[in-house]
């Protein structure tokens, strides 16, 4: 009895606040509708025969295949490796950004963001152009005859370049939140910079590091685009799910594998919760009061700046190859300048370009707002179902796109909710797949802010809505806007889930790029990719401009 007493008290408190109650119910229902239900449909698919009798056959079949056991090992190995390295690089960039005086900072920032803007496969393709058997670096410069980058190494490098910005974004947002006053106090008492880093800065970053590791891990194990192009014989689970379901026409076997993949992600998620634990990461003041004095020590600048510079340079080269490839006859073979790829796009029609931009823009604010509301509920409120909200909302990222795509088709094809072939189904998939980033950024910021500030507002008579809009949101503004921009960019470049959701009325750029790569029109694929990158840069640029007019920054500077 006494065990559930506090919960009952919590619920009483919530019940006194109708707005909060309504919000919680709305959030719960939408999560159930757009994450749990499609997932349930997919799980059901793997456990039922075509006639609807329960069976374990598909799971037995999946694990009887020697190949799948190897694939499982590959997935873990690749996920852990990429997450570790990406988090380290993301941290390096974030630290440089916040603590070190370097002139090229703006450039670093831009470059760290670029890989997120990357259309599917683009980096893999550039990478092959540089390091393949006829690659510019391996063949032309170094004269290596039979270079082979297909496999673990090539895949991991491309994934690290693609995913370290995720880590960077999470950590940069956090570092900006740390009040220099703390460090200055420690310095005044004679601590060295290194000692301060160990005892003051690093402990505050722990949740961010855990979060970024987790996020990157989940993205890596779910990444199928790069795995398809550069994975070679090194197959990961995400690719295997797709191959089983789409290549072998075995949807049930695919869903069985997908469930395994899901279990891995869930396991990581639980692990992370216990690892970060329930420690408090609060800087009491809430927001930094002034600028930090940047480290001008030449040795430090050199040692920290050089790797950042080299990584940035590498990314620049990979990116220059994309537009360059769109203006020559055939990338890597025939370098006669041409505009024919753009003429081809024009002839095929602008529809996919317009559709993609429109749907991404539409889903952007919805994703951001929902993400912040959920972050607020998770960190600040106690109610029955909170754990479920947190779990499901973050889970949505861990579901491989192919599977959630299939789940959406299975779930929304029959009444009560018929959405297949509409714009809505694509928008919902964008919202619920991109939300976790915003939530994590929001949670990480909120964990650093003492709830006392909000409680004070509440004591003065503000209701939850008032507290949320006039206290919480301003405190986590930068996380919110980062989440916005991130969700827009992710929508523009998402591929695995929407492959299933594009329809005759709505086609998307990424899917067009994929099919162009597939038929060997690398120039057209590069042209589409260039258009996509330009749209993303223009839209995020406009957003940033508007924000600066409003006097707000995001936690990413482009």
């Amino acid at each position: 009895m006494s065990l559930i007493q506090p919960q009952i008290d919590d619920m009483k408190k919530i019940a006194r606040d109708p707005i909060l109650l309504a919000t919680i119910i709305t959030v719960l229902i939408s999560l159930l509708l757009f994450i749990v239900w499609p997932l349930y449909e997919v799980l059901k698919e793997g456990f039922l025969t075509d006639q609807g009798a329960p069976t374990l056959r598909y799971y037995q079949d999946a694990f009887r295949r020697s190949e799948n056991i190897r694939v499982l090992g590959n997935t873990m190995y690749n996920g852990l490796f990429v997450s570790l390295v990406s988090t380290a690089i993301g941290f390096l960039f974030a630290y440089t950004d916040a603590f070190i005086k370097i002139r090229a900072k703006k450039l670093f920032n831009l470059l760290a963001i670029l890989p997120i803007v990357s259309p599917p496969f683009a980096l893999s393709m550039s990478f092959i152009m540089l390091f393949g058997q006829r690659g510019f670096v391996t063949h032309t410069l170094l004269g290596i005859k039979d270079a082979d980058i297909y496999g673990f190494l090539g895949l991991s490098i491309v994934q690290i370049l693609t995913f370290f910005p995720t880590a960077y974004l999470v950590l940069a947002g956090l570092l900006r939140q740390i009040d220099p006053a703390l460090e200055e106090a420690a310095r005044n008492m004679g601590a060295s910079r290194w000692h301060i880093f160990k005892t003051v800065v690093f402990p505050l970053l722990k949740p961010g590091i855990a979060n970024s590791f987790l996020l990157v891990f989940i993205q890596t194990v779910a990444d199928f685009g790069n795995a398809m192009v550069i994975g070679g014989n090194f197959t990961t689970l995400a690719a295997q799910v797709y191959l089983q379901a789409m290549g072998n026409y075995d949807i049930k076997g695919g869903t069985a594998l997908a469930t395994v993949l899901l279990s891995i992600s869930v396991f990581m998620f639980v692990l992370q919760k216990y690892w970060v634990g329930s420690g408090s990461y609060v800087t009491v003041t809430g927001k930094p009061s002034r600028q930090r004095q940047l480290n001008e020590d030449f040795i430090v600048r050199l040692t920290v700046g050089t790797p950042c510079f080299l990584i940035s340079l590498f990314i620049v080269i990979l990116y220059i190859l994309i537009p360059y490839g769109s203006f020559v006859n055939l990338w890597g073979i025939d370098f006669t300048p041409t505009l024919k790829h753009y003429q081809y796009i024009w002839a095929l029609g602008m529809k996919p370009i317009i559709d993609t931009t429109y749907l991404s823009l539409l889903s952007m604010p919805l994703t951001g707002i929902l993400g912040m509301i959920i972050a607020f509920l998770i960190t600040r409120k106690r109610f029955i179902g909170r754990g479920m909200i947190e779990f499901t909302s973050l889970l949505s990222m861990a579901i491989p796109g192919t599977v959630i795509g299939m789940g959406y088709v299975l779930a929304y094809n029959d009444p009560p909710l018929v959405l297949t072939g509409t714009a809505a189904i694509i928008i919902f998939s964008f919202i619920f797949r991109n939300m976790p980033v915003g939530i994590r950024a929001g949670v990480a910021s909120l964990q650093q802010i003492d709830p006392a500030i909000e409680e004070a507002a509440q004591d003065l008579g503000a209701n939850t809505f008032k507290v949320f809009t006039s206290v919480t949101i301003p405190l986590i503004k930068s996380a919110f806007f980062s989440g916005l921009i991130y969700s827009f960019v992710r929508s523009m470049t998402a591929v695995s889930a929407v492959i299933f959701l594009v329809s005759a009325s709505y086609n998307l750029l990424t899917v067009a790029i994929m099919s162009q790569v597939d038929v060997g029109r690398l120039g057209v694929a590069a042209a589409y990719s260039t258009v996509l990158i330009i749209i993303v840069l223009v839209v995020t640029g406009i957003l940033k401009f508007l924000l600066s007019k409003m006097g707000t920054t995001t936690s990413l500077d482009m």
Binding site: Q133, G232, G247, I251, D334, D414, I427, K466, D518, G520
Partner: protein
């Protein structure tokens, strides 16, 4: 209190916006009396766009089309079984259609124009009709052949030459219909035991097994591998796209082929328009359209002219490829192959 109204307004507006988006999709479907058609297409994007335009011009039927891979189309049809959105599946290898027929996703339709199409290129019961045929063969990179001083492979046995060690690429039969056609061809040609032994020997020569059937042609075209096993019409296409070093050859022992098909989706909307489309696509005109968009398969309608780009491969020796055997043994055969090569 005004605050609470604001929040309620916010929540409501989100809900309404979602409803609006969903409603918009719905409203568009409410069309005039004009005939409409939705189709899923497994061919190339430009081929699809061009054909659709031509068909609209000829018949006045309004078409919406979307391109997907065979596996995606099949998955989509399965998922949409209870309320199909499309009424035509057009293009892609027949083994996908055979599977769809077994799953009860297709409707019978025997077009009057199908009469002259040879029996081996269509379903005996009329569930699908073949529209093109693509031959399996080798694409090689001329530059790399010269570099390694080795001649063009002319037979399955040639692929085992030591010069090709680590320089051959074929897709993974577990994920690619093209590669599975090759595996089934080898087994039909040599028998299961010998065939799998051959695949094991060949495995020593393979650089990598990419996942998609079009990848080997692309890899050879860009110099990533010397020889690729793929459908020859893809090789021609890549050469037209500018991969000038590509040379084609075919195995002297005989090779398999794919039959591309068209079929009507069971319970799909616009049945009348769907039948019109199948009739139209089987005509000489409908079949020849692909050539202008870089699809160089041979055509099933005897009256339709084969693409001149494919003239060099028209005399390739074909085996009597058993489609239904290949379809029925897919899972078993792929697993045996996996065991044999440990991939």
């Amino acid at each position: 209190m005004s605050r609470s109204k604001k929040l309620i307004a916010l929540v409501l507006s989100i809900v309404m916006l979602a409803g609006l988006a969903a409603g918009c999709g719905g409203a568009k479907e409410e069309a005039k009396k004009q005939l409409q058609l939705t189709l899923y297409c497994g061919l190339m994007e430009d081929h699809m766009v061009m054909t659709v335009k031509e068909f609209e011009k000829d018949t006045g039927i309004k078409v919406s089309a979307v391109r997907m891979s065979s596996g995606e189309i099949l998955g989509r049809l399965k998922a949409e079984k209870n309320s199909p959105k499309a009424s035509i599946w057009w293009g892609g290898p027949a083994d996908g259609f055979i599977q769809a027929k077994a799953d009860g996703l297709l409707d019978k339709y025997v077009s009057s124009n199908a009469a002259m199409i040879p029996a081996k290129f269509k379903d005996a019961e009329g569930y699908w009709t073949g529209i093109y045929v693509g031959y399996l063969g080798f694409v090689s990179n001329k530059k790399l052949l010269d570099e390694k001083k080795v001649s063009l492979p002319q037979s399955w046995q040639d692929l085992l030459k030591p010069e090709f060690k680590g320089q051959i690429t074929m897709a993974n039969p577990g994920s690619s219909g093209t590669a599975y056609t090759m595996l089934a061809t080898i087994v039909q040609l040599m028998g299961e035991e010998k065939g799998l032994a051959y695949m094991k020997q060949l495995d020593q020569q393979i650089k990598t097994y990419p996942k998609s059937g079009t990848a080997p042609g692309r890899m050879v075209g860009t110099g990533e591998a010397t020889v690729g096993i793929t459908f020859l019409h893809d090789g021609i296409k890549y050469r037209e796209e500018g991969m000038k070093d590509l040379v084609l050859s075919a195995p002297s022992e005989g090779t398999g082929y794919e039959t591309g098909a068209v079929a009507m989706v069971k319970g799909g909307p616009d049945q009348e328009a769907a039948k019109k489309f199948i009739d139209w696509i089987l005509t000489k005109k409908g079949q020849e359209l692909g050539q202008a968009a870089g699809s160089y398969q041979f055509l099933t309608n005897p009256e339709a002219a084969a693409p001149k780009q494919a003239a060099e491969i028209k005399d390739v020796k074909l085996i009597n490829y058993d489609l239904s055997w290949a379809g029925n043994n897919r899972t078993k055969l792929v697993e045996k192959w996996s065991q044999a090569v440990k991939k």
